[in-house]
């Protein structure tokens, strides 16, 4: 899963375009797929999560798609909240893909190194599957005109090791930041 901008910086109100692709898809295993663009808080306070864009494909609808080819979706980001890195909490934006597979509850999943979100560990009770998450930042229109700051390593690593899973994109961004 990849966002349309390499630096991952979007101004509030910008158009976000994401491309996603599943390598070696096995139609018999796919039970559903959810794409969402959301922000969540992390830190000392309990987590708040708000979904800005959400789309769900059932198994029947997935069979109509050619998942080996890149698919994309786009959404216009809202004016707020902006990404925030505070003392007590942080506001993080991300595009998240949750893939539901059959038989994931009883055994390991070979998903090209992606993490499996278990029913209990990922915070989503009963919803087992693979979660791929691509973080990005939403800044104000004024900040968007300024040159991008380097992505803080702790912010990226936090995204990469989040309970619901990590992604190749997160790892790639972590390597870029270093």
């Amino acid at each position: 899963m990849r966002c349309c901008r390499e630096d991952g910086r979007y101004a509030a109100g910008d158009l976000l375009r994401c491309t996603w692709q599943i390598q070696n898809p096995s139609d018999s295993e796919l039970q559903g797929l959810e794409l969402s663009v959301l922000w969540y808080t992390e830190g000392k306070g309990d987590e708040d999560l708000t979904v800005h864009y959400f789309h769900r494909w059932t198994a029947a609808r997935l069979q109509e798609l050619n998942l080996a080819l890149p698919q994309d979706f786009e959404t216009r980001l809202p004016e707020s909240p902006l990404s925030y890195h505070g003392h007590l909490f942080r506001i993080r934006w991300c595009a998240r893909m949750r893939l539901f597979l059959s038989g994931t509850a009883n055994g390991p999943v070979n998903a090209g190194g992606l993490a499996k979100s278990t029913a209990l560990g990922g915070g989503s009770l009963g919803a087992s599957g693979i979660v791929v998450q691509t973080p990005f930042t939403v800044v104000s229109c004024l900040e968007a005109k300024l040159p991008a700051d380097p992505v803080p390593a702790d912010a990226v690593s936090a995204d990469a090791t989040q309970g619901s899973g990590n992604s190749k994109d997160s790892v790639r961004r972590l390597l870029l930041a270093r």
């Binding site: 509030a12 306070g45 959400f54 949750r98 009963g126």
Partner: protein, 383 residues
Amino acid sequence: MRTCDLAEAGNVFSRVSHPNPLFRRELESAMLKIPQPWSKKRGSRLAARLFSGVVGEVLFFVVLLLVGLFGVAITIAMLVLRRTSAEAAPDIVQAGLPTWIFLTSSMVLTITGIGGVTYRIMRIGASDERRAALANRSRRLDLSGPMDQPARMLPSVPQGSDLTNSPGIRLAFRLPSSGSPIAAVAAAAILALLWCGTWVVLAAVAVSGIWWGNPRPMLTFLLLPLGAIGIWSARYFLRQLRESAGVGATIIEVSNNPLVPGETCRVYLAQYGKLKLRRLRVLLVCEEEAIFRQGTDVRIDRHMVCESVIFAEKSVLVDLRAPWEQEFDMLVPDGAMHSFQSPHNAVTWKIVVEGESRPWPSFCRSFPVVVHPPHAPSTKDQR
């Protein structure tokens, strides 16, 4: 698999001796998760596992449902039986109020059980994102017409409608204070009046007993500590009254609302009362607020993000005949975070007026303001 000494498993502080460190760590963590109902949960936000909690909740609501159904069934059976008996013998008393109360309670239990079980089952099998999207969709149902349109353009930013509905005299908006001193004075007055009133009644009983030759020594002795508490409550009330009446009202008016980072706003300050202030400061404060659960407690933590002094003056003399007034500019820091509000986290902005005075106690009054993201679509209410 090698066996461990299970006798040690009862003690959560005991260390497990096993050559395999992975197995040892797993066993230790499993042992540490044993909840102790008599101890206070500290540190960890959840002592039990999430799955156990959901199963417990479902079982609780199932029990409620079954008890409710049993109550409804037995009440209906009794009513039918009574009606049949009444047809046979008309002099039997009809169903009374207790029967209907029992039936209503049973129905409430049944409905609560059905609702609880349904809600918890719906949560199982849905991802966090799907639940949030469903919640969003239900929130977007337009029930109030176009009045909500401006608020939707800036999600998670407080609307601050209370801050714009009061026009000012000098500038466009008069800001409401976050804490009213009247509530503190009223609470102190109620405490002092109730306590002192009770003490007077008890004193009358004690004096009448002595007068009629039937003294009550225990009551007379207790009047001393009770009277001391009464004196303390009366002094507390007088101090609160003196603070609110002596310091007088503080008025803040602003030219722009909401505020925007990097922009300047005109502020008008008026201080009423009769007092001599050693120092008066006006600050623009940004605070983070986080609500979290610790064990069974809900806690709030606050952290000051930034504090900028926008006005300060020493030796301020406030006269009763006219308020002390001042008008000055206030710059919202460039690049600052906008106001943010979510169920458990918030970023709040406020103007704080601090006065250090003698002989009156020092005071500190807060006036919340809303800061929007820069260059957001204009919802500014210009007057």
